[in-house]
């Protein structure tokens, strides 16, 4: 187990998350992809905490966890809203950003 390995793993996870974010149409599925990406960041924090020492990095993982949870809560609320509005959670329908 090396630092390089951990970083590469995090990068791979990030790219998978991006792939999901870009290809998925369902809002919930996109949220899942975002979770993957957040997770990859957390892995980086934990890896550096392990190989470079210190408690601070772990604290930041905790913070990131909390923020992710908050994001999921708000995100799901938005998904509910979109569903109520369009009867669907396909985000392509919600293209009001165009107008």
């Amino acid at each position: 187990m090396t630092l390089t390995g951990c970083i590469t793993l995090a990068a791979a996870l990030l790219c998978i998350g991006i792939y999901g974010l870009v290809t998925r149409k369902q809002a919930v599925a996109m949220l899942l992809s975002v979770e993957l990406m957040a997770n990859s960041a957390n892995i980086l924090f934990a890896a550096f905490a392990h190989f470079r020492g210190g408690a601070s990095a772990q604290v930041f993982v905790l913070f990131a966890l909390a923020i992710t949870v908050a994001e999921v809560a708000v995100g799901l609320a938005l998904v509910m809203l979109i569903y109520r509005r369009h009867g669907d959670t396909t985000l392509d329908l919600a293209s009001e950003a165009k107008q």
């Binding site: 290809t23 149409k25 009001e96 950003a97 165009k98």
Partner: protein
């Protein structure tokens, strides 16, 4: 008053009148007050000019006062001012006299016009006199050009006075763009002169090559303004204007401006023998060609119009022969007798209500004074010995002796004969013979009409004797030997021409070949063909220019607009409003940025 003040008064008195009429429009709309204000301006102008003349006779010398104009880097690019010398002073007087006479005549001639049109007419007249005086007193070519353009504009307005009449509007436009086209030559000539000499002086001494270019370009403008072949075709059409306007424009002023320019720029032309050669030939050809055309016209004004072109040809030929004085002298005498002829013709037209020679006849019984006036003018124009035209024309012909293997001399002698012949024709057809139907009720106009005729008849008769004085003012030794070859031949031509006219036309044109002659439209045909070809050529050039403008220049602009639109359209397509696509773009940006960071 100093000479400068007098010259400025002479120039700006009509301008003040015009400005007053332009701003205080009730005066203009009333009609009659406009005429009085305009006349007042002209009288003041002429008075100042005459005072200058008196001073001159009292021994006053040349005056040249200039002020810097168009400052650039603390240095004046050009100057403006006043120049009073042996050329501008006689010209100022000639223009003043003719303009005043014409305006006076117009009061009677135009009285049937609506008050507004009447007021507009005199406003334009005042403006025109101002423009012409700017030309006359110019100390350099740039100011002369400014006045020149003003003259062009006001003559356009005067020719198109009856602008509601399509033919008049067309004629005005034609005159305008013909002269304007030629004015490009003036402009380019000025540019060349400025580039090589750093000024607009006609006294500068450029090299022969530069002088040739400058004078050739200036001469292009002269061809347009003075209706020389091949740009003469606007002049007959310009007869659409009121007859007094024709008298003013085609006698002393507008068309004379071209000749005046050459007289002014004579030091430059002296450096360019090539240009003079061209002038000599163009002047001769114009004189002969226009005389032929004058012969076959049935409209009295058109006869006079072509004869003007012909006489301007004489002047240009004289200038081309290097005798500026002869050209200028003929310009002066011509101004008087041609103005007289036009005003007399106006009087006839006013009485008969027709321009056509066929409607006239026997008018000597009804219009004795006009007949005498027209006769004096015609004899003067024909170069009848003793009349003003005789002296100046002889001087022109003398200066041509031996030039170009005597061919221009011969051509001008031929046109001298033709001049006498066609003037005899007009005299006999209009005033001789039996009373025609339309002439039966003709009667002389009031004193406002006959007065100017009388005034102008005097110089038309006698101004030839002033030649000596003008010559000395222009530092030109003027000697006329009446028993030399040219005067004798010229006088004979004049007498033969008049006699021939008498024999051909005396019995109401019953002579065997009179009718044939009148139907000899060959020259007109040539002229019309030329005009048509000219038009086609010009339209072609305009078409090409228009095409370039429409498809190349506009195309470039349109391409810019189109690419912007298309760019916007495609950029709009990027904005799908779909979150995923935005995310894709973000990722793409990140990839690019990361790549830059990695590769650096």
């Amino acid at each position: 008053m100093t000479p400068v003040t007098l010259a400025l008064v002479a120039t700006f008195a009509p301008a003040v009148a015009a400005l007053l009429l332009l701003i205080v429009f009730p005066l203009r709309h009333k009609g009659a007050p406009a005429a009085w204000i305009c006349l007042l301006g002209s009288v003041v102008s002429l008075g100042a000019a005459l005072k200058l003349l008196v001073d001159r006779l009292g021994g006053a010398g040349d005056t040249r006062v200039t002020a810097p104009w168009i400052m650039e880097n603390g240095r004046a690019m050009a100057e403006m001012g006043v120049l009073i010398d042996g050329v501008s002073l006689p010209m100022l007087v000639i223009v003043g006299v003719v303009a005043l006479c014409v305006q006076l005549f117009s009061v009677a001639y135009m009285h049937d016009e609506a008050p507004r049109a009447f007021g507009r007419y005199f406003t334009l007249h005042a403006l025109f006199l101002f423009s012409m005086n700017v030309v006359v007193i110019s100390p350099n070519l740039l100011q002369l050009f400014a006045g020149w353009e003003l003259v062009g504009l006001t003559s356009y307005l005067l020719i198109g006075f009856y602008f509601a009449k399509p033919s008049a509007a067309k004629a005005a436009v034609k005159a305008f763009w013909m002269t304007k086209l030629a004015d490009m030559g003036f402009l380019f000539g000025l540019l060349v002169l400025y580039v090589f000499t750093g000024g607009f002086e006609w006294t500068s001494q450029p090299t022969t090559l530069v002088a040739t270019w400058v004078t050739a370009l200036l001469f292009v403008a002269v061809i347009g303004k003075s209706a020389q072949f091949p740009l003469h075709i606007w002049l007959p059409d310009a007869m659409e204007g009121p007859t007094p306007v024709s008298a003013l424009l085609h006698a002393a002023t507008m068309v004379a401006a071209g000749v005046f320019l050459v007289v002014r720029a004579d030091p430059l032309f002296a450096l360019a023998p090539g240009t003079r050669e061209v002038m000599l030939w163009i002047g001769s050809v114009t004189a002969l060609f226009a005389a032929c055309l004058a012969l076959v016209q049935s409209d009295i004004k058109k006869v006079l119009a072509y004869s003007t072109a012909s006489q301007l040809g004489y002047m240009v030929a004289a200038l081309g022969a290097g005798n500026a004085f002869a050209g200028f002298f003929h310009l002066g005498t011509h101004a008087f007798f041609k103005a007289l002829l036009f005003l007399a013709a106006g009087s006839v037209i006013h009485a008969v209500h027709s321009n056509s020679l066929e409607d006239m006849g026997g008018l000597r019984k009804k219009l004795p004074l006009t007949t005498v006036a027209f006769g004096i003018g015609a004899l003067s124009l024909a170069g009848f010995p003793g009349f003003a035209g005789f002296f100046s024309k002889d001087l022109v012909l003398t200066s041509l002796e031996g030039k170009g293997n005597w061919i221009p001399w011969t051509m001008l002698m031929g046109s001298a004969f033709l001049t006498a012949f066609y003037m005899g024709r007009v005299l006999i057809k209009a005033f001789g013979g039996e009373l025609s139907e339309k002439s039966a009720h003709a009667h002389e106009g009031g004193p406002a009409m006959t007065g100017p005729l009388v005034i102008l008849a005097i110089p038309a008769l006698a101004s030839g004797f002033l030649g000596g004085w003008i010559g000395t003012q222009m530092h030109h030794a003027h000697e006329l030997h009446f028993l030399a070859l040219t005067p004798v031949v010229a006088s004979s031509m004049s007498l033969i021409g008049l006699t021939a006219a008498w024999f051909v036309f005396r019995n109401g044109g019953k002579a065997p070949f009179a009718g044939t002659l009148e139907r000899l439209d060959a020259f007109s045909l040539v002229d019309k063909t030329w005009a048509a070809g000219y038009q086609v050529g010009l339209l072609g050039i305009s078409g090409i220019a228009g095409w370039i403008d429409r498809y190349l220049v506009d195309g470039l602009m349109n391409f810019g607009a189109w690419s912007t639109l298309e760019g916007g359209e495609s950029a709009r397509r990027l904005q799908t409003g779909r979150v995923r696509d935005y995310a894709l773009m973000v990722v793409a940006g990140v990839v690019v940025l990361a790549l830059i960071g990695v590769l650096r």
